[in-house]
Protein backbone atom coordinates (compact mmCIF):
# COMPACT_ATOMS: atom_id res chain seq x y z
CA UNK A 1 0.00 0.00 0.00
CA UNK A 2 1.27 3.46 -0.90
CA UNK A 3 2.29 5.70 1.99
CA UNK A 4 0.98 8.78 0.18
CA UNK A 5 -1.73 8.69 -2.45
CA UNK A 6 -3.72 11.55 -3.93
CA UNK A 7 -6.70 11.11 -6.18
CA UNK A 8 -7.76 14.00 -8.38
CA UNK A 9 -6.70 16.70 -5.96
CA UNK A 10 -7.65 20.25 -6.83
CA UNK A 11 -6.94 23.45 -4.96
CA UNK A 12 -8.66 26.70 -5.77
CA UNK A 13 -7.85 29.85 -3.83
CA UNK A 14 -10.95 31.99 -3.37
CA UNK A 15 -11.40 35.69 -3.76
CA UNK A 16 -12.95 37.83 -6.43
CA UNK A 17 -10.97 36.05 -9.11
CA UNK A 18 -10.48 32.47 -7.97
CA UNK A 19 -7.07 31.01 -8.77
CA UNK A 20 -6.66 27.34 -9.57
CA UNK A 21 -3.43 26.32 -7.87
CA UNK A 22 -3.68 22.56 -8.37
CA UNK A 23 -5.69 20.52 -10.84
CA UNK A 24 -6.29 16.78 -10.95
CA UNK A 25 -3.22 15.73 -9.00
CA UNK A 26 -2.80 11.96 -8.88
CA UNK A 27 0.37 11.22 -7.04
CA UNK A 28 1.72 8.19 -5.21
CA UNK A 29 4.74 7.88 -2.92
CA UNK A 30 5.76 4.54 -1.49
CA UNK A 31 7.31 4.03 1.90
CA UNK A 32 11.07 4.82 1.94
CA UNK A 33 11.05 6.71 -1.35
CA UNK A 34 13.02 9.94 -1.98
CA UNK A 35 10.93 12.02 -4.39
CA UNK A 36 11.62 15.47 -5.80
CA UNK A 37 8.76 17.73 -6.82
CA UNK A 38 10.18 20.24 -9.23
CA UNK A 39 8.72 23.11 -11.11
CA UNK A 40 9.02 26.84 -11.69
CA UNK A 41 7.61 29.47 -9.35
CA UNK A 42 3.81 29.40 -9.29
CA UNK A 43 3.64 25.86 -10.60
CA UNK A 44 1.77 24.69 -7.50
CA UNK A 45 4.53 22.52 -6.04
CA UNK A 46 4.53 24.29 -2.66
CA UNK A 47 0.72 24.13 -2.49
CA UNK A 48 0.96 20.40 -3.17
CA UNK A 49 3.50 19.98 -0.40
CA UNK A 50 1.28 21.93 2.03
CA UNK A 51 -1.62 19.61 1.25
CA UNK A 52 0.58 16.52 1.54
CA UNK A 53 1.93 17.94 4.82
CA UNK A 54 -1.64 18.37 6.17
CA UNK A 55 -1.10 22.10 6.55
CA UNK A 56 -3.86 22.81 4.04
CA UNK A 57 -6.76 20.84 2.62
CA UNK A 58 -7.66 20.28 -1.04
CA UNK A 59 -10.73 21.91 -2.58
CA UNK A 60 -11.59 18.62 -4.30
CA UNK A 61 -10.18 15.13 -4.54
CA UNK A 62 -8.87 12.77 -1.87
CA UNK A 63 -5.62 12.42 -0.02
CA UNK A 64 -4.82 9.09 1.61
CA UNK A 65 -1.99 9.00 4.10
CA UNK A 66 -0.97 5.48 5.01
CA UNK A 67 -4.34 4.34 3.69
CA UNK A 68 -6.39 6.82 5.76
CA UNK A 69 -8.59 9.38 4.02
CA UNK A 70 -7.30 12.61 5.56
CA UNK A 71 -10.56 14.47 4.86
CA UNK A 72 -12.21 12.42 7.60
CA UNK A 73 -9.71 13.44 10.27
CA UNK A 74 -10.40 16.03 12.97
CA UNK A 75 -8.12 19.01 13.62
CA UNK A 76 -6.68 17.17 16.61
CA UNK A 77 -5.95 14.04 14.57
CA UNK A 78 -4.33 16.12 11.84
CA UNK A 79 -2.18 17.89 14.46
CA UNK A 80 -1.15 14.53 15.89
CA UNK A 81 -0.16 13.26 12.44
CA UNK A 82 1.85 16.43 11.76
CA UNK A 83 3.57 15.88 15.08
CA UNK A 84 4.32 12.15 14.92
CA UNK A 85 4.34 11.17 11.24
CA UNK A 86 5.47 14.27 9.37
CA UNK A 87 8.57 16.43 9.68
CA UNK A 88 8.97 19.81 7.98
CA UNK A 89 12.05 21.63 6.75
CA UNK A 90 11.24 25.10 5.42
CA UNK A 91 13.20 27.32 3.07
CA UNK A 92 13.20 30.14 5.62
CA UNK A 93 14.12 27.81 8.54
CA UNK A 94 11.25 29.08 10.74
CA UNK A 95 13.17 28.88 14.00
CA UNK A 96 11.92 30.67 17.10
CA UNK A 97 14.00 33.79 17.66
CA UNK A 98 15.65 34.37 21.05
CA UNK A 99 15.26 30.66 21.73
CA UNK A 100 18.21 28.28 21.99
CA UNK A 101 18.97 25.52 19.50
CA UNK A 102 18.01 22.97 22.16
CA UNK A 103 14.65 24.62 22.85
CA UNK A 104 13.90 24.96 19.14
CA UNK A 105 14.60 21.29 18.55
CA UNK A 106 12.48 20.32 21.56
CA UNK A 107 9.48 22.30 20.29
CA UNK A 108 7.61 19.39 18.56
CA UNK A 109 8.09 17.25 21.68
CA UNK A 110 5.97 19.71 23.65
CA UNK A 111 3.01 18.62 21.54
CA UNK A 112 3.83 14.90 21.68
CA UNK A 113 3.19 12.19 24.22
CA UNK A 114 6.86 11.59 24.91
CA UNK A 115 7.58 12.02 28.63
CA UNK A 116 9.24 15.36 29.30
CA UNK A 117 12.19 13.77 31.09
CA UNK A 118 13.27 12.25 27.76
CA UNK A 119 12.96 15.47 25.74
CA UNK A 120 16.48 16.76 26.33
CA UNK A 121 18.02 13.41 25.45
CA UNK A 122 15.97 13.06 22.27
CA UNK A 123 16.74 16.62 21.16
CA UNK A 124 20.45 16.28 21.93
CA UNK A 125 20.63 13.09 19.85
CA UNK A 126 19.26 14.93 16.81
CA UNK A 127 21.47 17.98 17.40
CA UNK A 128 24.45 15.65 17.53
CA UNK A 129 23.31 13.91 14.33
CA UNK A 130 23.37 17.25 12.45
CA UNK A 131 26.75 18.14 13.99
CA UNK A 132 25.69 21.09 16.12
CA UNK A 133 26.51 19.88 19.62
CA UNK A 134 28.74 22.89 20.19
CA UNK A 135 25.89 25.21 19.29
CA UNK A 136 23.26 23.75 21.64
CA UNK A 137 22.75 26.92 23.66
CA UNK A 138 23.19 29.36 20.80
CA UNK A 139 20.25 31.30 19.49
CA UNK A 140 19.33 31.34 15.78
CA UNK A 141 20.78 34.83 15.32
CA UNK A 142 24.19 33.45 16.30
CA UNK A 143 24.11 30.71 13.64
CA UNK A 144 24.94 30.67 9.92
CA UNK A 145 22.20 29.89 7.39
CA UNK A 146 23.43 26.32 6.97
CA UNK A 147 23.51 25.79 10.70
CA UNK A 148 19.99 27.15 11.05
CA UNK A 149 18.74 24.74 8.42
CA UNK A 150 20.44 21.86 10.20
CA UNK A 151 18.67 22.93 13.42
CA UNK A 152 15.41 22.84 11.44
CA UNK A 153 16.26 19.33 10.22
CA UNK A 154 17.04 18.21 13.78
CA UNK A 155 13.68 19.67 14.85
CA UNK A 156 11.90 17.86 11.99
CA UNK A 157 13.42 14.57 13.11
CA UNK A 158 13.06 14.83 16.87
CA UNK A 159 9.74 12.95 17.03
CA UNK A 160 11.15 10.33 14.62
CA UNK A 161 8.58 10.94 11.86
CA UNK A 162 8.20 8.63 8.92
CA UNK A 163 8.00 11.33 6.24
CA UNK A 164 10.21 14.41 5.82
CA UNK A 165 8.88 17.30 3.74
CA UNK A 166 11.60 19.70 2.65
CA UNK A 167 10.40 22.87 0.93
CA UNK A 168 13.34 24.42 -0.96
CA UNK A 169 15.68 23.55 1.93
CA UNK A 170 18.73 24.89 0.10
CA UNK A 171 16.98 27.96 -1.30
CA UNK A 172 18.51 30.38 1.20
CA UNK A 173 21.89 28.67 1.49
CA UNK A 174 25.26 28.94 -0.21
CA UNK A 175 26.34 25.88 -2.18
CA UNK A 176 28.56 24.43 0.57
CA UNK A 177 25.82 24.70 3.20
CA UNK A 178 23.28 23.43 0.68
CA UNK A 179 25.40 20.38 0.10
CA UNK A 180 25.57 19.62 3.83
CA UNK A 181 21.78 19.90 4.08
CA UNK A 182 21.25 17.66 1.03
CA UNK A 183 23.75 15.14 2.41
CA UNK A 184 21.70 15.06 5.60
CA UNK A 185 18.45 14.45 3.71
CA UNK A 186 20.16 11.69 1.68
CA UNK A 187 21.36 10.09 4.90
CA UNK A 188 17.83 10.19 6.28
CA UNK A 189 16.56 8.49 3.17
CA UNK A 190 19.21 5.79 3.61
CA UNK A 191 18.06 5.37 7.18
CA UNK A 192 14.61 4.50 5.84
CA UNK A 193 12.76 7.80 5.95
CA UNK A 194 10.44 8.83 3.16
CA UNK A 195 11.70 12.19 1.86
CA UNK A 196 9.71 14.56 -0.33
CA UNK A 197 11.74 17.45 -1.60
CA UNK A 198 10.43 20.57 -3.29
CA UNK A 199 12.92 22.44 -5.46
CA UNK A 200 13.23 24.44 -8.61
CA UNK A 201 16.87 23.38 -8.99
CA UNK A 202 17.37 20.30 -11.13
CA UNK A 203 20.78 19.61 -9.58
CA UNK A 204 19.23 19.50 -6.12
CA UNK A 205 16.34 17.41 -7.43
CA UNK A 206 18.76 14.83 -8.75
CA UNK A 207 19.66 13.82 -5.19
CA UNK A 208 16.29 12.03 -5.09
CA UNK A 209 15.38 8.77 -6.82
CA UNK A 210 12.31 9.92 -8.62
CA UNK A 211 10.99 13.28 -9.71
CA UNK A 212 7.70 14.83 -10.72
CA UNK A 213 7.45 18.08 -12.64
CA UNK A 214 4.65 20.52 -11.87
CA UNK A 215 3.59 23.19 -14.25
CA UNK A 216 0.51 25.42 -14.01
CA UNK A 217 -0.90 23.38 -11.14
CA UNK A 218 -0.65 20.02 -12.80
CA UNK A 219 1.87 17.18 -12.83
CA UNK A 220 3.16 17.22 -16.37
CA UNK A 221 5.99 14.76 -16.09
CA UNK A 222 7.10 11.96 -13.79
CA UNK A 223 10.25 9.84 -14.11
CA UNK A 224 13.91 9.29 -13.32
CA UNK A 225 15.79 12.23 -11.77
CA UNK A 226 18.40 12.08 -14.50
CA UNK A 227 15.75 12.76 -17.14
CA UNK A 228 14.08 15.84 -15.58
CA UNK A 229 13.04 18.15 -18.42
CA UNK A 230 13.95 21.84 -18.50
CA UNK A 231 12.03 23.39 -15.60
CA UNK A 232 11.26 26.92 -16.80
Amino acid sequence: MALIETKGIEKVFGGETPTVALRNINFIVDRGEFVSIVGPSGSGKSTLLQILGLLDSPTAGSYFLDGKDTSTLSDEELAKLRNRTLGFVFQSFNLLARTSVLENVKLPLAYSNFPSRSWDKMAMAQIEAVGLLKRVYHEPSQLSGGERQRVAIARALVTNPEIIFADEPTGNLDSASGKVVMDTLTRLHHEGKTVILITHDRNVARRAHRAVLCRDGAIVWEGDVNDIPEIS
Binding site: D56, L96, L107, S116
Partner: protein, 414 residues
Protein backbone atom coordinates in the same frame (compact mmCIF):
# COMPACT_ATOMS: atom_id res chain seq x y z
CA UNK B 1 0.75 17.60 31.98
CA UNK B 2 4.40 17.86 31.01
CA UNK B 3 3.41 19.75 27.89
CA UNK B 4 1.33 22.10 30.07
CA UNK B 5 4.44 22.98 32.06
CA UNK B 6 6.36 23.43 28.83
CA UNK B 7 3.60 25.71 27.55
CA UNK B 8 3.67 27.62 30.83
CA UNK B 9 7.45 28.03 30.49
CA UNK B 10 7.05 29.20 26.90
CA UNK B 11 4.42 31.67 28.07
CA UNK B 12 6.70 33.03 30.78
CA UNK B 13 9.54 33.35 28.24
CA UNK B 14 7.25 35.26 25.88
CA UNK B 15 6.19 37.60 28.69
CA UNK B 16 9.81 38.02 29.82
CA UNK B 17 11.05 38.67 26.28
CA UNK B 18 9.34 42.08 26.18
CA UNK B 19 9.88 43.28 29.72
CA UNK B 20 9.18 46.95 29.13
CA UNK B 21 6.05 46.26 27.12
CA UNK B 22 4.85 43.67 29.62
CA UNK B 23 5.54 46.12 32.46
CA UNK B 24 3.60 48.93 30.83
CA UNK B 25 0.78 46.56 29.92
CA UNK B 26 0.20 45.44 33.47
CA UNK B 27 0.50 48.91 34.98
CA UNK B 28 -3.30 49.22 35.20
CA UNK B 29 -3.49 45.87 37.00
CA UNK B 30 -0.62 46.86 39.31
CA UNK B 31 -2.36 50.13 40.22
CA UNK B 32 -5.70 48.36 40.68
CA UNK B 33 -4.38 45.61 42.94
CA UNK B 34 -2.14 48.04 44.86
CA UNK B 35 -5.22 50.15 45.55
CA UNK B 36 -7.26 47.13 46.65
CA UNK B 37 -4.58 46.02 49.08
CA UNK B 38 -4.06 49.55 50.36
CA UNK B 39 -7.77 50.22 50.85
CA UNK B 40 -8.43 46.89 52.51
CA UNK B 41 -5.36 47.10 54.71
CA UNK B 42 -6.20 50.64 55.86
CA UNK B 43 -9.88 49.64 56.19
CA UNK B 44 -9.03 46.61 58.28
CA UNK B 45 -6.55 48.63 60.32
CA UNK B 46 -9.21 51.27 61.00
CA UNK B 47 -11.75 48.59 61.82
CA UNK B 48 -9.51 46.76 64.24
CA UNK B 49 -8.43 50.03 65.84
CA UNK B 50 -11.96 51.32 66.33
CA UNK B 51 -13.37 47.97 67.32
CA UNK B 52 -10.46 47.38 69.65
CA UNK B 53 -11.10 50.70 71.32
CA UNK B 54 -14.81 50.10 71.62
CA UNK B 55 -14.22 46.60 72.91
CA UNK B 56 -11.69 48.13 75.30
CA UNK B 57 -14.59 49.93 76.92
CA UNK B 58 -15.89 46.52 77.84
CA UNK B 59 -18.64 44.46 76.35
CA UNK B 60 -20.56 44.75 79.59
CA UNK B 61 -20.75 48.56 79.39
CA UNK B 62 -24.07 50.20 78.52
CA UNK B 63 -24.37 53.88 77.62
CA UNK B 64 -27.58 55.80 78.31
CA UNK B 65 -28.01 59.17 76.63
CA UNK B 66 -30.77 61.76 76.79
CA UNK B 67 -32.98 62.62 73.83
CA UNK B 68 -33.75 60.65 70.70
CA UNK B 69 -31.15 58.50 69.08
CA UNK B 70 -29.49 60.75 66.50
CA UNK B 71 -29.97 59.52 62.97
CA UNK B 72 -27.76 62.22 61.48
CA UNK B 73 -25.46 65.12 62.36
CA UNK B 74 -28.38 67.53 62.82
CA UNK B 75 -29.78 65.34 65.60
CA UNK B 76 -26.57 65.66 67.60
CA UNK B 77 -27.56 69.08 68.98
CA UNK B 78 -30.84 67.84 70.50
CA UNK B 79 -28.84 65.08 72.21
CA UNK B 80 -26.42 67.60 73.67
CA UNK B 81 -29.19 69.83 74.97
CA UNK B 82 -31.65 67.13 76.01
CA UNK B 83 -32.07 67.15 79.76
CA UNK B 84 -33.80 63.87 80.51
CA UNK B 85 -30.86 62.29 82.36
CA UNK B 86 -30.32 63.85 85.72
CA UNK B 87 -29.12 62.65 89.12
CA UNK B 88 -32.58 61.20 89.79
CA UNK B 89 -32.24 58.87 86.78
CA UNK B 90 -28.68 57.93 87.74
CA UNK B 91 -29.80 57.01 91.23
CA UNK B 92 -32.77 55.00 89.91
CA UNK B 93 -30.52 52.95 87.65
CA UNK B 94 -28.22 52.12 90.57
CA UNK B 95 -31.00 50.35 92.44
CA UNK B 96 -30.77 46.56 92.22
CA UNK B 97 -34.54 46.20 92.09
CA UNK B 98 -34.52 48.22 88.89
CA UNK B 99 -31.40 46.80 87.22
CA UNK B 100 -30.55 43.51 88.96
CA UNK B 101 -27.25 43.03 87.07
CA UNK B 102 -25.97 46.53 87.91
CA UNK B 103 -22.32 46.66 88.98
CA UNK B 104 -21.25 50.28 88.70
CA UNK B 105 -22.02 53.47 86.84
CA UNK B 106 -20.84 56.99 86.29
CA UNK B 107 -22.58 59.92 84.68
CA UNK B 108 -20.61 62.07 82.30
CA UNK B 109 -20.96 65.74 81.63
CA UNK B 110 -19.05 67.72 79.08
CA UNK B 111 -17.95 71.21 80.05
CA UNK B 112 -17.21 73.77 77.43
CA UNK B 113 -14.76 76.14 79.01
CA UNK B 114 -11.13 77.15 78.98
CA UNK B 115 -8.48 76.15 81.50
CA UNK B 116 -6.10 78.75 82.81
CA UNK B 117 -2.88 78.55 84.81
CA UNK B 118 -1.14 81.84 85.26
CA UNK B 119 -1.07 83.40 81.84
CA UNK B 120 -1.44 80.06 80.03
CA UNK B 121 -4.85 79.36 78.56
CA UNK B 122 -5.82 76.03 77.04
CA UNK B 123 -9.04 74.68 75.55
CA UNK B 124 -9.08 71.00 76.39
CA UNK B 125 -12.03 68.65 76.48
CA UNK B 126 -13.34 68.84 80.02
CA UNK B 127 -15.28 65.92 81.42
CA UNK B 128 -17.28 65.94 84.56
CA UNK B 129 -16.87 62.26 85.33
CA UNK B 130 -15.68 59.70 87.83
CA UNK B 131 -11.89 59.46 87.61
CA UNK B 132 -11.95 55.93 88.99
CA UNK B 133 -14.54 54.81 86.46
CA UNK B 134 -12.60 56.50 83.68
CA UNK B 135 -9.30 54.90 84.69
CA UNK B 136 -10.81 51.43 84.95
CA UNK B 137 -12.73 51.76 81.71
CA UNK B 138 -10.12 53.16 79.36
CA UNK B 139 -7.24 51.63 81.29
CA UNK B 140 -5.52 54.98 81.64
CA UNK B 141 -2.25 55.04 83.57
CA UNK B 142 -1.34 57.71 86.08
CA UNK B 143 1.92 59.54 85.51
CA UNK B 144 1.91 61.34 88.82
CA UNK B 145 -0.44 62.03 91.75
CA UNK B 146 -3.62 60.34 92.98
CA UNK B 147 -6.91 60.49 91.15
CA UNK B 148 -10.00 61.79 92.95
CA UNK B 149 -12.41 59.24 94.41
CA UNK B 150 -16.10 58.79 95.30
CA UNK B 151 -15.67 60.86 98.45
CA UNK B 152 -14.39 63.81 96.37
CA UNK B 153 -17.39 63.39 94.08
CA UNK B 154 -19.74 63.36 97.05
CA UNK B 155 -18.06 66.48 98.47
CA UNK B 156 -18.17 68.22 95.08
CA UNK B 157 -14.44 68.75 95.50
CA UNK B 158 -12.68 71.19 93.18
CA UNK B 159 -10.03 68.76 91.99
CA UNK B 160 -8.83 67.91 88.50
CA UNK B 161 -6.98 65.16 86.69
CA UNK B 162 -5.05 66.40 83.65
CA UNK B 163 -4.05 64.75 80.41
CA UNK B 164 -0.32 64.69 79.82
CA UNK B 165 -0.26 67.25 77.02
CA UNK B 166 -2.53 69.72 78.78
CA UNK B 167 -0.37 69.41 81.87
CA UNK B 168 2.81 70.02 79.85
CA UNK B 169 1.26 72.97 78.01
CA UNK B 170 -0.07 74.62 81.14
CA UNK B 171 2.84 74.01 83.46
CA UNK B 172 5.74 73.91 81.02
CA UNK B 173 7.93 71.68 83.15
CA UNK B 174 6.69 72.75 86.59
CA UNK B 175 5.30 70.12 88.93
CA UNK B 176 1.51 70.43 88.46
CA UNK B 177 0.45 68.45 91.53
CA UNK B 178 -1.24 70.68 94.09
CA UNK B 179 -1.24 73.67 91.74
CA UNK B 180 -4.44 75.57 91.15
CA UNK B 181 -5.96 75.93 87.72
CA UNK B 182 -9.02 77.90 86.77
CA UNK B 183 -11.87 76.36 84.82
CA UNK B 184 -14.49 78.94 83.97
CA UNK B 185 -14.90 80.88 87.19
CA UNK B 186 -13.80 78.19 89.61
CA UNK B 187 -10.37 77.18 90.82
CA UNK B 188 -9.43 73.49 90.80
CA UNK B 189 -6.48 71.74 92.46
CA UNK B 190 -4.55 69.39 90.20
CA UNK B 191 -4.41 65.98 91.91
CA UNK B 192 -3.07 63.75 89.13
CA UNK B 193 -1.65 63.71 85.61
CA UNK B 194 -2.28 60.83 83.20
CA UNK B 195 0.41 59.14 81.17
CA UNK B 196 0.60 60.12 77.52
CA UNK B 197 -0.52 58.04 74.55
CA UNK B 198 -3.45 56.22 76.14
CA UNK B 199 -7.15 56.32 75.92
CA UNK B 200 -7.83 55.22 72.38
CA UNK B 201 -11.05 56.85 71.19
CA UNK B 202 -10.79 59.45 73.93
CA UNK B 203 -7.73 61.56 73.48
CA UNK B 204 -6.69 61.47 77.12
CA UNK B 205 -3.62 63.61 76.41
CA UNK B 206 -5.80 66.64 75.82
CA UNK B 207 -8.48 66.15 78.43
CA UNK B 208 -9.25 67.33 81.91
CA UNK B 209 -11.43 65.26 84.26
CA UNK B 210 -13.20 66.81 87.22
CA UNK B 211 -15.86 65.25 89.50
CA UNK B 212 -19.21 65.17 87.71
CA UNK B 213 -20.93 66.50 90.82
CA UNK B 214 -18.66 69.55 90.86
CA UNK B 215 -19.14 70.09 87.14
CA UNK B 216 -22.91 69.84 87.53
CA UNK B 217 -23.07 72.31 90.37
CA UNK B 218 -20.54 74.91 89.26
CA UNK B 219 -19.92 74.65 85.54
CA UNK B 220 -23.18 73.48 83.98
CA UNK B 221 -26.05 75.71 83.02
CA UNK B 222 -28.55 72.85 83.28
CA UNK B 223 -28.66 70.10 85.85
CA UNK B 224 -28.46 67.20 83.45
CA UNK B 225 -25.81 64.80 82.20
CA UNK B 226 -24.71 64.05 78.67
CA UNK B 227 -24.58 60.35 79.30
CA UNK B 228 -24.42 57.62 81.89
CA UNK B 229 -22.09 54.69 81.55
CA UNK B 230 -23.30 51.64 83.34
CA UNK B 231 -21.51 48.37 83.86
CA UNK B 232 -23.41 45.14 84.36
CA UNK B 233 -22.19 41.82 85.70
CA UNK B 234 -21.42 40.11 82.36
CA UNK B 235 -21.75 40.58 78.60
CA UNK B 236 -24.61 38.05 78.69
CA UNK B 237 -26.52 40.32 81.08
CA UNK B 238 -26.36 43.27 78.67
CA UNK B 239 -29.51 42.49 76.65
CA UNK B 240 -31.81 42.04 79.67
CA UNK B 241 -30.21 44.98 81.47
CA UNK B 242 -30.97 47.21 78.48
CA UNK B 243 -34.63 46.26 78.87
CA UNK B 244 -34.44 46.87 82.63
CA UNK B 245 -32.91 50.30 82.05
CA UNK B 246 -35.54 51.23 79.49
CA UNK B 247 -38.33 50.04 81.78
CA UNK B 248 -36.89 51.99 84.72
CA UNK B 249 -36.55 55.24 82.78
CA UNK B 250 -39.95 54.89 81.12
CA UNK B 251 -41.57 54.38 84.48
CA UNK B 252 -39.66 57.34 85.88
CA UNK B 253 -40.69 59.52 82.94
CA UNK B 254 -44.22 58.07 82.71
CA UNK B 255 -43.66 56.96 79.12
CA UNK B 256 -46.01 54.29 77.84
CA UNK B 257 -45.19 54.48 74.14
CA UNK B 258 -41.56 53.41 73.46
CA UNK B 259 -41.62 55.62 70.35
CA UNK B 260 -41.77 58.60 72.69
CA UNK B 261 -38.67 57.64 74.69
CA UNK B 262 -36.71 60.71 75.78
CA UNK B 263 -33.49 58.71 76.11
CA UNK B 264 -31.72 56.02 74.20
CA UNK B 265 -29.51 53.13 75.20
CA UNK B 266 -26.42 51.92 73.33
CA UNK B 267 -24.37 48.84 73.87
CA UNK B 268 -20.81 48.23 72.71
CA UNK B 269 -21.99 45.38 70.49
CA UNK B 270 -24.39 47.68 68.65
CA UNK B 271 -21.61 50.20 68.11
CA UNK B 272 -19.27 47.45 66.92
CA UNK B 273 -21.88 46.17 64.48
CA UNK B 274 -22.62 49.65 63.21
CA UNK B 275 -18.99 50.60 62.66
CA UNK B 276 -18.25 47.20 61.11
CA UNK B 277 -21.11 47.75 58.66
CA UNK B 278 -20.03 51.29 57.80
CA UNK B 279 -16.44 50.23 57.16
CA UNK B 280 -17.50 47.20 55.14
CA UNK B 281 -19.75 49.32 52.94
CA UNK B 282 -16.98 51.89 52.54
CA UNK B 283 -14.43 49.22 51.65
CA UNK B 284 -16.82 47.59 49.19
CA UNK B 285 -17.54 50.95 47.56
CA UNK B 286 -13.85 51.83 47.19
CA UNK B 287 -13.14 48.33 45.89
CA UNK B 288 -15.81 48.82 43.24
CA UNK B 289 -14.10 52.05 42.18
CA UNK B 290 -10.81 50.18 42.02
CA UNK B 291 -12.44 47.46 39.90
CA UNK B 292 -12.76 50.07 37.15
CA UNK B 293 -8.98 50.37 37.00
CA UNK B 294 -8.76 46.58 36.73
CA UNK B 295 -11.16 46.63 33.78
CA UNK B 296 -9.08 49.37 32.14
CA UNK B 297 -5.96 47.31 32.86
CA UNK B 298 -7.65 44.25 31.37
CA UNK B 299 -8.48 46.13 28.19
CA UNK B 300 -4.81 47.13 27.96
CA UNK B 301 -3.80 43.50 28.33
CA UNK B 302 -6.26 42.45 25.64
CA UNK B 303 -4.95 45.11 23.30
CA UNK B 304 -1.34 44.05 23.77
CA UNK B 305 -2.26 40.36 23.46
CA UNK B 306 -4.00 41.07 20.15
CA UNK B 307 -0.87 42.86 18.92
CA UNK B 308 1.23 39.96 20.15
CA UNK B 309 -0.96 37.42 18.32
CA UNK B 310 -0.56 39.37 15.09
CA UNK B 311 3.18 39.77 15.57
CA UNK B 312 3.59 36.07 16.26
CA UNK B 313 1.29 34.77 13.54
CA UNK B 314 4.18 32.96 11.87
CA UNK B 315 5.17 31.37 15.17
CA UNK B 316 1.58 30.16 15.58
CA UNK B 317 1.73 28.62 12.10
CA UNK B 318 5.03 26.96 12.91
CA UNK B 319 3.75 25.53 16.17
CA UNK B 320 0.71 24.15 14.37
CA UNK B 321 2.91 22.67 11.66
CA UNK B 322 4.91 20.95 14.37
CA UNK B 323 1.81 19.42 15.94
CA UNK B 324 0.21 22.04 18.18
CA UNK B 325 -3.57 21.71 18.38
CA UNK B 326 -5.97 24.64 18.60
CA UNK B 327 -6.26 24.08 22.33
CA UNK B 328 -2.45 24.05 22.72
CA UNK B 329 -2.27 27.51 21.13
CA UNK B 330 -5.29 28.72 23.10
CA UNK B 331 -3.69 27.51 26.33
CA UNK B 332 -0.38 29.16 25.51
CA UNK B 333 -1.81 32.60 24.78
CA UNK B 334 -4.28 32.41 27.63
CA UNK B 335 -1.46 31.47 30.00
CA UNK B 336 0.54 34.43 28.72
CA UNK B 337 -2.36 36.78 29.46
CA UNK B 338 -2.98 35.24 32.89
CA UNK B 339 0.72 35.25 33.71
CA UNK B 340 0.95 38.88 32.67
CA UNK B 341 -1.97 39.95 34.85
CA UNK B 342 -0.96 37.74 37.78
CA UNK B 343 2.57 39.15 37.74
CA UNK B 344 0.88 42.56 37.76
CA UNK B 345 -1.30 41.37 40.64
CA UNK B 346 1.72 40.08 42.58
CA UNK B 347 3.58 43.38 42.08
CA UNK B 348 0.39 45.17 43.16
CA UNK B 349 0.20 43.06 46.32
CA UNK B 350 3.83 43.80 47.20
CA UNK B 351 3.38 47.54 46.57
CA UNK B 352 0.01 47.56 48.35
CA UNK B 353 1.51 45.87 51.39
CA UNK B 354 4.47 48.27 51.40
CA UNK B 355 2.22 51.32 51.07
CA UNK B 356 -0.21 49.87 53.61
CA UNK B 357 2.63 49.32 56.05
CA UNK B 358 3.91 52.85 55.42
CA UNK B 359 0.41 54.24 55.90
CA UNK B 360 0.03 52.37 59.20
CA UNK B 361 3.28 53.88 60.47
CA UNK B 362 2.31 57.36 59.27
CA UNK B 363 -1.19 57.09 60.79
CA UNK B 364 0.20 55.73 64.06
CA UNK B 365 2.58 58.67 64.35
CA UNK B 366 0.27 61.41 63.14
CA UNK B 367 -2.88 60.33 64.97
CA UNK B 368 -0.95 59.11 67.98
CA UNK B 369 -2.83 55.82 67.97
CA UNK B 370 -1.69 52.25 67.89
CA UNK B 371 -2.59 51.57 64.24
CA UNK B 372 -1.85 47.90 63.72
CA UNK B 373 -0.75 46.65 60.30
CA UNK B 374 -1.83 43.14 59.44
CA UNK B 375 -1.00 41.47 56.12
CA UNK B 376 -4.37 41.48 54.34
CA UNK B 377 -4.36 37.79 53.32
CA UNK B 378 -7.92 37.79 52.12
CA UNK B 379 -7.41 40.90 49.99
CA UNK B 380 -4.12 39.53 48.65
CA UNK B 381 -5.76 36.29 47.60
CA UNK B 382 -8.69 38.19 46.13
CA UNK B 383 -6.25 40.54 44.34
CA UNK B 384 -4.34 37.63 42.86
CA UNK B 385 -7.54 35.83 41.94
CA UNK B 386 -9.09 38.92 40.40
CA UNK B 387 -5.95 39.69 38.38
CA UNK B 388 -5.87 36.08 37.15
CA UNK B 389 -9.57 36.40 36.33
CA UNK B 390 -8.91 39.62 34.41
CA UNK B 391 -6.23 37.71 32.46
CA UNK B 392 -8.72 34.98 31.56
CA UNK B 393 -11.57 37.34 30.67
CA UNK B 394 -9.44 39.70 28.59
CA UNK B 395 -7.06 37.04 27.30
CA UNK B 396 -9.61 34.58 25.97
CA UNK B 397 -10.49 36.60 22.87
CA UNK B 398 -6.89 37.11 21.66
CA UNK B 399 -6.10 33.48 22.55
CA UNK B 400 -9.06 32.27 20.50
CA UNK B 401 -7.97 34.45 17.62
CA UNK B 402 -4.54 32.81 17.81
CA UNK B 403 -5.85 29.26 18.11
CA UNK B 404 -8.14 29.53 15.11
CA UNK B 405 -5.50 30.63 12.67
CA UNK B 406 -5.02 28.19 9.83
CA UNK B 407 -1.50 26.76 9.98
CA UNK B 408 -0.67 27.55 6.38
CA UNK B 409 -2.15 31.06 6.45
CA UNK B 410 -0.15 31.71 9.58
CA UNK B 411 3.06 30.28 8.11
CA UNK B 412 2.67 32.42 5.01
CA UNK B 413 2.13 35.59 7.08
CA UNK B 414 4.82 38.23 6.53
Amino acid sequence: MSSFFYTARSASRAVGANRVRSGLTVLGIVIGVTSIILIVSIGEGAQSLILGQIQGLGAETIVIRPGRKPSGPTDMAQTLFADSIKQREVDALKRKENVPDYVSSAPLLMVSDSVTYGSNIEHPTIYGWSAEFMVSMIKAKIRVGTIFDEEDIKQEAAVAVLGSQISDDLFAGDDPIGKSIRIGTKNFRVVAVLQGGGGGLLNTDKMVVIPYSTALTYLSSGKHYNEVMLKVSSPEAVARSVEDIKATLRELHSITDPAKDDFYVETQQAAIDQIGTILSVLTAFLSAVVAISLVVGGIGVMNVMLVSVTERTKEIGLRKALGATNSDILTQFLLEAVLLTMVGGAIGIVLGVLFGYGASIALSQNLNVDWAFAFPWRAALIGLGVSGGVGIVFGIYPARQASQKSPIEALRYE
